[in-house]
C-alpha cells in the first residue's frame, strides 16, 4: 500500500477519534441536572449563616414529616450567603436549581428566575395541596409586596423590625419610650451624655444603617415612599428623600454609633446591645433568639423592650406600620417540583410554624398549630405586634436592583462617618437604580 494512502487513512481516523472522545466525554458529563427526571432527594440549598431553618427542617424530617422524608430524603447543602446569588445564577443557567433554595439576597434575582420559568408557582401548589390557609395573611401580603404581587417563596421566617432598647438604662436616666423622632434624638442625647453609646449598628453589613433611612422615609412621606421611587415617580435625590439621609448622617456625626461603625459586624453590634454597652438597637424580630439566649444576653430578657420606629412630626406615616420581611426567602425549583416534593411542602406548611417557635423561638409566616409559650415578655410583645399589625411596609433596598442594594449597603458607613455626604449617598444609589 502506498505511503500516501496510509497517511490519508490515518488522517481520516484522527477526526473520528476526536469525535469518539467528545462523545465519551459527553456521556461521562451526565445530565448536568438539566433534566426534568424525578428528584432522588429533597435538596435544600441554604446559606451557612442561617442555621434555624435547616435545623427545624431536619427535626421535621425525623418527626412530623418522617413519611415524606422516607419517600424523598431531605438533603441540606450550604454555601456562604455572599456567594448565594452567583451560585443561583450558575445553577439556573445550567437548569439545575435544587428542589428548594434560599432565594437570593435581593428579590430582583428571584423575580428574574421566575420570569425564566425556573421557580415553582408556590401559591398554585399550596392551593392544590389544600394548605394555603396555613400561611399567615400578613406574611403572604409581605411576600406579594416583595415579588410583584406573586407568592414566590415560603415564609420560613416572618419578622417585623423596630428598635430594641435597654429598659434599665432608660429607667436610670429617666427616659420615656420615644414616640417621635425628636424624642428619640433627645433620648440618644441623654444616653450619650451619660457615656453610653446610644445606638449599636453593624456598618460592616450596612443595612442596619439604611433601615434607619427607610424608617424615617416611611414616617415622613408615608408607606408608599419607596414604591414611588420604584415606580420612577420620585427620586432618592429629591430633597424630602435626602432629608432622611441627612437625619441619619447627623446621628453618626454626633458619634451615636460609636467609633469605627464601618468595622462593626453583626455579632459585635448585637453583643454591644446585649452586654449593656449601648442603649438602643434597630433590628428585626429574629433577634429574639439572641435575646432569649442567656449566654449572649447579659442584661436579662426582662430589661429588653421593643418600640416601633418613632413618628416624624408632620409626617404622613404612622408608627403602627412596621417594616416586615420573611428573612432570607426560600423558593422552589419548577423542574423538580413533583408529588413527593408537594407532600414535603404540605407537611412543612402544617408543622414548621410550631417547630420553629418551640425549638428556636423563631416567628414564622406559618400558622402555629400547636400552642407554644412565649420565651420572654419581649417575645410576647413582638408576637402580639405581628398579629395586631394592619399595614406593613418594606425596607430601604426591598425593591432595589442587586447593584443598588450592594451600593446602598457598602456606602452606608461612609454616610454616618461623614466621608460621604447625604446628597452623594442618595445620588449613588439612585444612579445604580437607573443603570440596571
Amino acid at each position: 500500500m502506498p505511503h500516501r494512502t496510509i497517511r490519508a487513512r490515518r488522517l481520516a481516523l484522527a477526526p473520528a477519534g476526536v469525535l469518539s472522545l467528545a462523545l465519551v466525554a459527553t456521556a461521562c458529563g451526565g445530565s448536568g441536572g438539566g433534566t426534568s427526571a424525578a428528584p432522588k432527594d429533597f435538596t435544600y440549598l441554604s446559606v451557612t449563616e442561617n442555621t434555624t431553618t435547616r435545623t427545624a427542617l431536619t427535626t421535621l424530617s425525623t418527626s412530623a414529616c418522617k413519611a415524606e422524608n422516607d419517600a424523598l430524603p431531605l438533603k441540606v447543602e450550604t454555601i456562604p450567603q455572599a456567594q448565594l446569588d452567583q451560585k443561583l445564577q450558575l445553577l439556573a443557567g445550567q437548569d439545575a436549581l435544587p428542589g428548594m433554595f434560599a432565594a437570593g439576597n435581593a428579590p430582583a434575582l428571584t423575580k428574574q428566575l421566575a420570569k425564566g420559568g425556573k421557580v415553582a408557582d408556590i401559591e398554585l401548589e399550596l392551593e392544590r395541596l389544600g394548605v394555603l390557609d396555613q400561611l399567615e395573611p400578613a406574611a403572604v401580603s409581605t411576600i406579594k409586596a416583595l415579588y410583584g404581587g406573586k407568592l414566590m417563596a415560603l415564609p420560613y421566617e416572618y419578622n417585623i423590625e423596630g428598635i430594641f432598647y435597654n429598659k434599665k438604662l432608660f429607667q436610670e436616666d429617666g427616659i420615656a419610650v420615644p414616640g417621635t423622632w425628636d424624642e428619640l434624638l433627645a433620648a440618644a442625647d441623654k444616653l450619650n451624655a451619660k457615656g453610653i453609646q446610644p445606638f449599636s449598628a453593624s456598618g460592616a453589613q450596612g443595612w442596619p444603617l439604611t433601615r434607619l433611612i427607610s424608617g424615617y422615609l416611611y414616617r415622613s412621606l408615608g408607606p408608599d415612599a419607596l414604591d414611588l421611587v420604584d415606580a420612577g415617580t420620585a427620586r432618592l435625590t429629591d430633597p424630602e428623600y435626602v432629608k432622611a439621609a441627612e437625619e441619619v448622617a447627623a446621628l453618626g456625626k454626633k458619634g451615636y454609633f460609636g467609633k469605627g461603625v464601618g468595622s462593626i459586624d453583626y455579632d459585635t453590634a448585637m453583643n454591644q446591645f446585649l452586654t449593656g454597652k449601648s442603649g438602643m438597637f434597630y433590628m428585626g424580630s429574629w433577634a429574639l433568639a439572641n435575646i432569649a439566649d442567656p449566654k449572649q444576653n447579659k442584661i436579662g430578657t426582662e430589661n429588653v423592650g421593643f418600640m416601633p420606629f418613632p413618628a416624624v412630626k408632620g409626617g404622613k406615616g404612622s408608627i403602627d406600620q412596621y417594616p416586615s420581611n420573611i428573612g432570607l426567602a426560600v423558593a422552589f425549583g419548577s423542574k423538580t417540583f413533583d408529588d413527593k416534593t408537594g407532600a414535603w411542602v404540605g407537611c412543612i406548611a402544617e408543622n414548621f410554624g410550631s417547630t420553629a417557635l418551640k425549638d428556636h423561638g423563631t416567628i414564622t409566616g406559618f400558622k402555629v398549630n400547636t400552642p407554644v409559650k412565649d420565651s420572654s415578655e419581649v417575645a410576647g410583645t413582638v408576637r402580639k405586634t405581628i398579629s395586631g399589625s394592619k399595614q406593613n411596609v418594606l425596607w430601604f433596598e426591598a425593591l432595589f436592583s442587586t447593584k443598588a442594594t450592594t451600593l446602598s449597603n457598602t456606602s452606608a458607613p461612609g454616610l454616618v462617618n461623614g466621608s460621604v455626604s447625604p446628597q452623594k449617598f442618595m445620588e449613588t444609589v439612585q444612579a445604580a437604580l437607573g443603570s440596571q
Binding site: 434575582l109 469605627g260 468595622s263 459585635t268 442587586t402 451600593l407 457598602t410 458607613p413 462617618n417
Partner: protein
C-alpha cells in the same frame, strides 16, 4: 537541526500541541469574552445583541472612571514601592549583610508565601479601630493622638492597602533583584573601588546601570501584577468604603457575577486588557532603549 526546523511538518508537530492548548485555554475565552461585549443579558434570561451599547456606557460610567483612576494610582505607587523597597533590600543583602543575609532574606520573603486572605485579616486587625483599637491605633493613643478609622475613609483605606501590598511583595522583588546584583562581576566593582568610587557613587555609577535590565524586568512584572490587583483588595476592604477602593478587576467581577451583567463585565475586561497592553508596551520600549544605552 537545520533540516528538522526547515521541515514544515516537523514545526507543526513540535508547536501544534502547545499552540492548540494555548488557543483553547487563552485565545478562545478571550475572543468569547470579546463577543460578550456586544451582548446584554445573563445566563438566566439569555443573551441578546446590544451593538456598541456597552462601550458607550463604559465611556459614560463614573464608576469605571473612578475604578480606572484607582487602578492606575495603585499600580504606579505599589510598583514604585515594591521595586524601590526590593532594590534597597537587595543592596542591603549584597553590600552590607553579604553572606549573613540568608536569614534576613528568608524573613523578608516570608510574607510572599502567606495566603492573601491571611495577610488581609492581619492588616484589618492591625489598623482596626473597633470593636477594640488595633496596635496602630493603640500606638496613636499612647502618644496622645486620637484613633483613626482607617477603613471608614477611602483615602486612608487606600494607604493601608498600599502598605500591605508593598510589605507583602517586597521580599519577592528583593530576591529577584538580589540575583541580578549577584551577576555584576566582582572585578568591575573592585576596579571601581580602586578608582575611588564607594558608597552612593558606586551604586549610582556602576551598580545601577549594570542592574538596569533586571530592574526593568521587575518593573514589567510589578506593573502587570498591580494593574490586575484583585485578591488583596477583596481581602482587605472588598472595594469599600462604598466604591472607594474598587479597582477595575473588582468592578468587572461585580458587574459580571454580582449584578449579572456579563456583557458589561466583558467590556470592562477588555478595557483592562487594553490598559495592560499599553503599559507593557510602554515599559518594553523603554527597556529596549535603555538596554541599548547601557
Amino acid at each position: 537541526m537545520h533540516r528538522v526546523l526547515g521541515d514544515r511538518r516537523a514545526i507543526l508537530i513540535l508547536l501544534g500541541p502547545a499552540l492548540l492548548v494555548y488557543t483553547l485555554i487563552m485565545l478562545v475565552p478571550m475572543v468569547w469574552s470579546l463577543g460578550y461585549s456586544f451582548t446584554k443579558g445573563n445566563s438566566i434570561e439569555g443573551f441578546t445583541g446590544s451593538g456598541l451599547d456597552n462601550f458607550t456606557r463604559l465611556l459614560d460610567d463614573p464608576a469605571v472612571h473612578e475604578a480606572l483612576w484607582f487602578t492606575l494610582k495603585y499600580a504606579v505607587i505599589v510598583t514604585a514601592g515594591q521595586v524601590v523597597a526590593g532594590y534597597l533590600l537587595a543592596l542591603l543583602y549584597v553590600f552590607f549583610l553579604k553572606k549573613a543575609s540568608a536569614l534576613v532574606r528568608t524573613l523578608v520573603f516570608f510574607p510572599v508565601i502567606l495566603p492573601t486572605v491571611a495577610v488581609g485579616l492581619l492588616f484589618q486587625k492591625l489598623f482596626q479601630v473597633a470593636p477594640q483599637p488595633g496596635p496602630v491605633n493603640s500606638l496613636l493613643n499612647a502618644i496622645g493622638l486620637e484613633s483613626i478609622d482607617f477603613f471608614g475613609n477611602a483615602g486612608s483605606a487606600f494607604w493601608v492597602l498600599i502598605i500591605m501590598d508593598i510589605w507583602r511583595s517586597m521580599g519577592f522583588y528583593a530576591v529577584l533583584l538580589f540575583a541580578g546584583l549577584m551577576d555584576i562581576p566582582d572585578e568591575v566593582l573592585e576596579s571601581a573601588r580602586l578608582d575611588g568610587a564607594s558608597g552612593p557613587r558606586l551604586i549610582r555609577h556602576i551598580v545601577l546601570p549594570l542592574s538596569l535590565p533586571v530592574l526593568l524586568s521587575s518593573l514589567i512584572f510589578s506593573v502587570n501584577g498591580t494593574l490586575k490587583v484583585f485578591d488583596s483588595v477583596v481581602a482587605l476592604t472588598n472595594g469599600g468604603p462604598g466604591t472607594g477602593t474598587t479597582p477595575l478587576t473588582l468592578y468587572m467581577f461585580q458587574s459580571s457575577f454580582t449584578y449579572s451583567e456579563y456583557g458589561y463585565g466583558s467590556t470592562i475586561a477588555l478595557l483592562l486588557t487594553v490598559v495592560c497592553l499599553l503599559v507593557s508596551l510602554a515599559v518594553y520600549r523603554v527597556s529596549r532603549r535603555d538596554n541599548t544605552e547601557s
